[in-house]
């Protein structure tokens, strides 16, 4: 499998000649579904800039009657939610996410290299077990790990979450990276060896640069996973307002019911903004990563 190989242009997107007539219904259906998929987020975005009383008083779609009334728009909700814990939760989420992405990607890269290019007893058996671990539900791990953490007094600390995310993210990371690194031509590695390069040099100077695309898509995966995670953060970092991450903060706000209704849209966007930016800026890598794992690349 070559994770990054671009799709051979076996056929072009716009179906050539002959079936032009069939394009109109296709366009309509596509536009309809795309609109249907966009309306929920669009509504939330509009709501987040409306005055609190407006959010409670009328649906977001009523703004279309009065779109240019600048008095109707406000940043008030954003300033409120940022003051009420979301700025802090944002910092917490950053502190959780960076190591929780970097650690498993690094550890997995070294492991993947060993599985692809080194010889050792048990190599295949261990790797097959890792393939199997990919589908083990996270829920299987929660109770025992929480007990160990309680014993070590690690509960509610960042390292507790970093390592948990590292552990849970590893099977896929090792698997994807090993398949990619293993598909690099062996002549490359051999010639590096003949030139006297050690494994470490070969790995850092040759394999890592060549694997950048797949590492990038993996890092985006893990970033989205960790940033958007609720369960792991809830269990190991907890509900304590000083430490909690954005998703936990948001679920707490959502649990306050009608009283906090006007804050929800802005709060939700604060939690979404970074993943959306990363997602759109790096969509190419992300799609590659998905297709590399799932289908012929």
């Amino acid at each position: 499998m070559t994770a990054t190989a671009t799709k051979p242009a076996v056929h072009t997107s716009s179906q050539e000649s002959g079936n032009r007539g069939s394009r109109v219904p296709a366009v309509l259906v596509v536009a309809f579904i795309a609109a249907l998929w966009t309306v929920p987020s669009l509504g939330l975005l509009i709501n987040s800039f409306r005055a609190p009383t407006d959010i409670r008083g009328s649906g977001w779609w009523t703004v279309f009657g009065d779109l240019f009334n600048s008095a109707a728009w406000t940043l008030e909700n954003y300033t409120t939610v940022l003051e009420e814990g979301f700025a802090n939760a944002f910092a917490n989420t950053v502190a959780v996410t960076i190591p929780a992405v970097a650690i498993p990607v690094t550890v997995a890269a070294f492991a993947a290299y060993a599985f692809a290019w080194m010889e050792f007893p048990g190599r295949n058996l261990i790797f097959v077990s890792i393939v199997g671990l990919m589908v083990v539900p996270l829920q299987m791990a929660l109770i025992p790990i929480l007990r160990v953490y309680t014993g070590l007094d690690l509960n509610g600390t960042y390292p507790a979450v970093w390592l948990a995310h590292a552990g849970f993210g590893l099977p896929l990371a090792v698997y994807l990276l090993r398949n990619y690194m293993g598909s690099l031509p062996s002549s490359l590695i051999e010639s590096a060896r003949i030139d006297g390069a050690s494994h470490f040099t070969t790995f850092t100077r040759l394999i890592i640069p060549l694997s950048t695309p797949v590492i990038a898509s993996l890092a985006i995966f893990q970033f989205l996973w960790v940033w958007n995670d609720f369960l792991v953060a809830l269990v190991f970092l907890g509900f304590d307002p000083t430490n909690r991450v954005l998703t936990v903060e948001l679920s707490d706000l959502a649990g306050r019911g009608e009283g906090a209704l006007n804050l929800l849209p802005a709060a939700a966007f604060v939690t979404m903004i970074l993943p959306l930016v990363v997602f759109f800026a790096l969509q190419r890598f992300f799609v590659r990563g998905l297709t590399a794992g799932g289908v012929k690349g």
Partner: protein, 384 residues
Amino acid sequence: MTTPPVLVETPSEIRRPLSEPGAQSNSLQVWLLRLASALIIPAVLAVFFVTFEFLQREDTNKILQVIVALIVGVGGVWALFWAMDRAITAMPDRLGTAVRPFAFAGPAMVLLGFYLVYPAVRTFILSFQNASGTEFVGLSNFVTIFTDSVYLISMRNSVIWVLVVPLLAVGIGLGFATLADKLGSKSESAAKSLIFLPMAISFVGASVVWRFIYNFRPEGFGEQIGLLNAVWTAFGGSPVNWLQVPLWNNLFLMVILVWLQTGFAMVILSSAIKAVPDDMLEAARLDGANEWEVFRRIVIPTIASTLVVVWTTVIITTWKVFDIVFVMTGGGFDTSVVAERMVTEFFTFGNDGIGAALAVVLFLAVIPILVINIKRFKEQEATR
């Protein structure tokens, strides 16, 4: 939150590693060194983290913590691997060759062992114990979850989720990918981005998004601000509290996950559709097949294995769904699902035994997929 594909179908062209003298040494000394080199990095990390805990308890300076996190996360782990490699290079050649793979792959194995293998075994044992894990109670936790109506409802709902969500997500994704393929490439990628966008949104965030769709105000308590009720009342209906309508409320929750997962299915299926050879399609069209026949007779069979992969992946994501139910209804109004029930038992009721038993049920259900996964992988390796 996204689950990446769990099954892979492409034969990979992975070559055997180059053989080196000493790599297969099996003396006790070598094994001890291997074990040590696998453990050193995790051990150093663990020691550091226990220290970090004090930093976090006593010093509330968030920026400092983030900086330390950054240095450790990005540079620290790398430096540890480098140091390990230096140490091994100082060993005699043959010994170094035998030990080095375990310095490279060992930390991953240790982490996986601690975070997945050990807890899975422990959870199995806990599922046969009482609420606080002090006594063995035989199968009674399993008897409870398979007889008590509270748990049976969760299981019924989970089964409905697994049947409905993948069907809708894959169905809509496939239809969309097929039709979007007929558009110009610019509008195709714009339309695909819109479907794809929810993939960047957390389940919790998505639940908040959909609150403003399902919001309910009883009649006489002001204008409807939920889109669904606004449309419903505009057509003459009286406002409905969607999330409390028995059985249907499950469907309304499932719609949220369909909204999130369709983009995933669509992207993968789209690239599979684009890989269908053009001449096959043209030949069918020349034979007089219409677009529907081309789709059914040529496209579907060609992408069948991708369809299976996508379907399975969405099934697993759906099976493990927890956040949506937790945030939207808290499992009330008969909307509970197994994964959500498990957390509730464990967290809210402190009933570790039942929680573990539910986790085991979650796990047992994916075992067939695990087995297929490994089988496929071995076949690929055998044919490479």
